[in-house]
Subunit: 204 residues, 4 copies
């Protein structure tokens, strides 16, 4: 009994905030940020409504905390080491990383994006911490390959933004219309095809 209660206690110390976050993530994904009430979160997390405000100053801060978790995930999906990889593998890896982020966090991403549209500081956080790093990595790779003569001299930064935009657009569309835009077979396959198009276009 002593053990059990200690165990329970040890867990609850840091778990309560985590539980709130997990429940909030699910509810925001299902219903959106504005239509999810703090009462819903509290009830499903098994805590009192007031408890949420011990861990997070405002409801918006719950979303911000989810954003922070997303940023961490985002970094994990950002390519670090490209040495010795083929062009195809590098591009594929970058695209795949971003698609994975979407497939693993589409719910939260949907909720964040919806808020981001009308919340500038949230937008800025998203742009600098989530899309920013991916843009940088990809940008420097393309520029390097252009210098080496492997890639056409198109506007590199445009190509990057177009590709990041494509991932976001496909992510959004496939979470709205899984039937039409869904990544039917696998994310790897999806990434492959995007890589093909990115590198070779559709012309023969």
């Amino acid at each position: 009994m002593a053990y059990k209660s200690q165990e329970k206690h040890r867990r609850s110390i840091s778990d309560k905030g985590q539980t709130i976050l997990e429940v909030a993530a699910r509810l925001f994904a299902e219903r959106g940020f504005e239509r999810t009430t703090t009462k819903m979160i509290a009830t499903e997390a098994g805590v009192a409504e007031g408890t949420i405000f011990i861990y997070f100053p405002t409801k918006r801060d719950v979303l911000m905390a989810l954003m922070e978790k997303l940023i961490l995930q985002s970094l994990k999906h950002t390519l670090e080491e490209t040495e010795g990889m083929s062009d195809r593998d590098v591009i594929h890896a970058i695209i795949l990383g971003r698609l994975r982020l979407w497939s693993e966090h589409s719910g939260v991403l949907k909720a964040i994006i919806a808020q981001m549209f009308f919340d500038n500081s949230l937008a800025e956080l998203f742009l600098t911490r989530v899309t920013g790093p991916a843009i940088e990595v990809m940008n420097s790779f393309i520029t390097k390959r252009q210098h080496e003569g492997a890639f056409r001299e198109i506007d590199a930064s445009f190509a990057v933004r177009a590709t990041i935009g494509q991932v976001i657009g496909l992510g959004i569309m496939s979470s709205i219309a899984p039937g039409t835009f869904g990544m039917e077979k696998s994310i790897e396959d999806y990434a492959s095809r995007m890589t093909d198009m990115f590198l070779g276009g559709v012309w023969r």
Copy 2:
């Protein structure tokens, strides 16, 4: 005097609904659907709050009416005649049409997309009436060109969805971060570069 007052009357009859719609479009664009109140719309439109509900049964119907206008605009931007056009011109025209839709209605589109995430019937309307027609046109063109041997045998429907997704993603990103994703020079130029990438990729 008689003329003037008739004029005023005639105008006000059909104008009030339009005014409400225009004001709502602006406010939804600035603040989003949920954070725009019917009182705000009424005040800025110079009508009583109740007047809104003479023209639109619910606040959501104001958004739906905006959607209908968007659908009409969308059709205008959908290519009808491709006979005799070069591949480049066809693709460019399709992409340009969609980009124009975004640049002319990005505010309303943002508001609609944010709601669409958590409103299935709105999502369905958007998919069947706005993205659907564009997908069809582009799809049949690519398939035809593949049969004629001009395009590589990649998955046509994937290529289409990727491109539509790209337009949407770029539209979203440029309305969130005009500095980074904005269509700096001109939409035509932007469409040109997207067309280039679509047709030829980045590989030399």
Copy 3:
């Protein structure tokens, strides 16, 4: 054509107010006074909403006008001539008259009674013009028969009020629960049994 239009015109002069009244009676009966809107009345009566207020200063006055019609009906059901009738016939006729009033106007009566509960001047009108005359007629008859030694020396005015109350209570209950309190066979039969009870009670 001239005839027809005259006909139509002649009718419409007094008919519009009547139509409004008829429609209102039906809607008040179905939905109650407060939950019936002037728009509903106007729509179903085939007139503009404003037209109602040409014929009746306020919505409440529509109910008052229905009350007036009811008062006229009520008088028709009030016995005038009792000479030569048996005790049973007199009592039966009085009770029958009130039951008829209920069965013919139960809808409006329900609506009026519901408002009467919380509208003193409506209540007074009802009491003095609808229940009042019936009470008087019955009261003087009973008093006369008591003097003649035919009826027991119970409190006459109490007996009258109890009977009028009984009619009202049964009217209300049968309009709420036709299955349980409904006048299954016929009103005449119902009146007969009430007369029996009134005169002879249940004791053997």
Copy 4:
């Protein structure tokens, strides 16, 4: 001090719902259900408007809760033990119980009845839980006494309904017109006279 504050807390916890109910009962009685606003209830109960909705999901549920209290009262007034009582005492007791219900709760009863006219589920609740039990008790007693030859062979269920209807009708009328229908002397006296009429009628 500690005691006092605990006391205050303990009280306020369970009292608030009760206070709301009491205030609502009074206001509904005075002004009817529809014309009583939640703001009025809140103000007079000394709570915030939102507090009402912690205790009752909707305004209608406040009325339903009042109905529940009435049902409990109603059962208290329903006769259980008739063994060894004279006919007169049994009938008197039943009638008295119902009259007491009216005299103690006439305000709420008025409000409920007015709503019941146009709210079927409220009507059903009232019929099954308030009038139903009274009907059953009375019905079985009369039937028994008919078998024993003490009562005339009139339609027992009719006699019961007529009497219940009478109580309701008199209850309504005396709350509308206390001067004319009021139970001047005492409820016991009123019940006595109703009993007399029920048993012996007016005929000598």
